[in-house]
């Protein structure tokens, strides 16, 4: 029988640590550095995602004020131009009411180091190159685009893609499979803090190509990581686009299932 309390000691320890999520400033704010009348940056693609992460934290603390399994959000700059804008970035964050624990003002050369030094579990960017670099260094990196992240829901919606065919745009890397699995376990544990209905996190699984067995296998894989999916869709060749639009995920994860 499956229970979210059934974990090894190592996982237990991991699960109690905060989940460190690093988002690039480019993703948080509109690209091109668009400004509002006060000279502050306007919310960009990752904005709704950050709000959802925040909501999850609020609900986790409501369930247990001593909760330590929370999202720890870092805003990171990845190029020198943004690095110069430190005060404007911090001001804009504050202005929009986003709770960010740290800022890392780095550039193209050292941002990866910063990711590693800060023990980042999930790196979110709108830049394909950055995502690739992150993956190669073993950091779970997810590429955000206008379709995956900008959905107007309060609930954090995570989509697992169960077919190896559906590679994350960042490209697979051996090291990041490990990172993907431990991040997934953390998400699963967080999800387990809430009941079936009215949860601030929702986890969906999609298999695109294979039949029901491949979806069944993916469900079992997730379960072995401590993740109980809320929704599951076995498409068996039906075009993914319309389904993805209906699911409105904040981001997609597929590395857990890659065959390497």
């Amino acid at each position: 029988m499956v229970s979210t309390d059934q974990k090894t000691d190592v996982k237990e320890k991991e699960a109690d640590c905060p989940v460190v999520v690093a988002v690039t400033s480019h993703a948080v704010f509109e690209s091109g550095g668009a400004e509002d009348p006060d000279g502050l940056y306007v919310g960009g693609i990752a904005f709704p995602l950050l709000q959802a992460l925040q909501k999850v934290n609020e609900r986790l603390l409501k369930e247990n004020p001593a909760e330590s399994l929370l999202f720890d959000v870092i805003v990171i700059t990845t190029e020198s131009q943004q690095q110069q804008q430190s005060s404007r970035i911090t001001e804009s964050i504050r202005h929009h009411g986003l709770k960010v624990s740290r800022f890392c003002f780095s550039n193209e050369e050292d941002f990866i180091e910063n990711l590693l030094n800060n023990n980042v579990h999930l790196f979110l960017t709108t830049n394909r190159n950055e995502a690739l670099q992150g993956s190669q260094k073993g950091v779970l990196s997810v590429l955000l685009d206008e379709h995956t992240a900008s959905c107007p829901t309060e609930q954090l919606r995570v989509l697992f893609c169960g077919d190896a065919v559906v590679q994350s745009e960042a490209g697979p890397a051996l090291a990041s499979k490990q990172a993907a699995q431990s991040f997934s376990a953390q998400i699963g544990k967080m999800r387990g803090r809430f009941g079936l209905f009215d949860s601030p996190i929702s986890i969906a699984l999609v298999t695109s190509r294979g039949g029901r067995e491949s979806c069944g296998d993916a469900l079992r894989t997730l379960r072995s990581l401590g993740v109980n999916a809320d929704e599951a869709y076995c498409l068996a060749g039906v075009p993914r686009g319309p389904i993805k639009r209906l699911l409105r995920p904040h981001f997609l994860l597929s590395e857990c299932f890659s065959s390497n």
């Binding site: 009941g195 079936l196 029901r212 979806c215 929704e231 076995c234 060749g237």
Partner: protein
């Protein structure tokens, strides 16, 4: 009571050559199918990978299509509560709450569910598919059965185990974890949706998807394993409820008068017209291969209308739509139960609960289409005598 076994209604010329299956063509007239993809019999390119044969498969069809494209297939979406029997689990849900319900499901994960009211119908669809694959191995014009459930994915593994156990061919499913599946039904270009929940069925109908509510009869009479039989009521199922409105508002005489006056005016379409159409398209594929007498699909009209009078308008409408129905039974108000018991359809669609209950009493699997004026009057004491 008059039983008429008609020869298949004369098909409008020019329609036999078109072998297009129109998805979700609820009420679309023939002309609007022009834009749909034309089936080219010479096109041999496989559009989907053939599934490798495993020990579970009873059938082995080389090179056949197993994952048809939604726009080519006749998509039938069934919910888990009508495909299987889940009364015990429902009780746990109602009495002990959702967490206990899920725990129970997971505990019993390796126990397959027993067949539900839609099970014989789904098995019959698969029989038709097997015959279609023999005749047209490259074609995607098949029934595509999709499991659509509001269940949480926790129940997913038990459902998959059950599908395996019964050797059903269901490779697509959608477990929405509580949210409405209507968007997915549309994305899958669903031709028919069967559910145990009338609200969900009503929602689908308003979105233009043919849908019906199914109930578990106390006994299920045996049905054919080699021929799919689908029976339809006429008014407010195949046709609109316009005539029924007249009957309800002004009585039987007015109804007859109205029907006579309007004999040559076509009835408007009803929610299940598109599904009958889809069945007809598949039937023609058998006819094209000389299998009219041995066709594994048979359709029936079971109506309270009278053959000599009000039934004429119904037949003329069907003919004008280019739809064939294999048998039309005009009961002139007599109870439908006994006739259905003779036909033994895998499913019977009616808009009035009175008839659904009557059918179920005699072991016929009936599906309620909650459409039209009858819904305001739906009660066991309501009859549609002598139409």
């Amino acid at each position: 009571m008059v039983k008429m076994s008609l020869e298949p209604v004369q098909v409008m010329s020019g329609q036999v050559a078109e072998l297009k299956v129109a998805p979700s063509s609820n009420g679309d007239s023939a002309g609007s199918w022009e834009g749909k993809r034309e089936f080219d019999k010479d096109h041999l390119g496989l559009t989907a990978k053939p599934k490798p044969v495993t020990g579970r498969r009873a059938r082995k069809v080389e090179g056949a299509v197993f994952f048809p494209k939604p726009e080519n297939a006749v998509t039938v979406a069934v919910s888990s509560r009508v495909l299987f029997r889940t009364e015990r689990e429902q009780k746990v849900f109602e009495q002990q709450g959702v967490e206990e319900y899920l725990r129970y499901q997971i505990e019993h994960e390796n126990e397959p569910f027993a067949p539900g009211p839609a099970f014989p119908f789904v098995k019959a669809l698969e029989t038709v598919n097997a015959r279609l694959r023999e005749l047209y191995p490259q074609s995607e014009e098949l029934f595509d059965i999709v499991l659509v459930t509001y269940n949480h994915a926790h129940v997913g593994i038990r459902l998959i185990n059950t599908i395996n156990h019964h050797n059903l061919f269901i490779e697509r499913f959608c477990m929405t974890g509580g949210s409405s599946p209507i968007g997915y039904l549309k994305a899958w270009q669903t031709n028919l949706y069967l559910s145990a929940d009338a609200n969900k069925v009503r929602e689908a109908l308003t979105e233009g998807i043919a849908a019906a509510t199914m109930f578990m009869p106390e006994k299920m009479t045996e049905v054919s394993e080699s021929q799919l039989r689908v029976a339809f009521d006429g008014d407010a199922v195949l046709f609109s409820d316009e005539s029924e409105r007249i009957f309800k508002a002004h009585g039987l005489d007015k109804f007859f008068e109205h029907e006579k006056e309007n004999e040559d005016r076509l009835l408007d379409h009803g929610p299940l017209k598109g599904f009958l159409e889809a069945l007809g398209k598949l039937q023609k594929k058998f006819y094209a291969k000389g299998q009219r007498l041995d066709c594994p699909i048979r359709t029936y009209l079971v109506t309270a209308r009278s053959a000599a009078s009000s039934g004429i308008r119904a037949l003329k409408t069907l003919r004008a739509w280019g739809l064939e129905i294999d048998e039309a039974l005009f009961l002139a108000g007599a109870p439908k139960g006994p006739m259905l018991e003779k036909i033994r359809p895998h499913i019977y669609f009616d808009d009035q609960m009175f008839h659904i209950e009557g059918a179920a009493e005699m072991g016929t699997i009936a599906a309620h289409v909650p459409y039209g004026i009858a819904q305001k009057h739906n009660s066991k004491h309501n009859t549609s005598a002598g139409k």
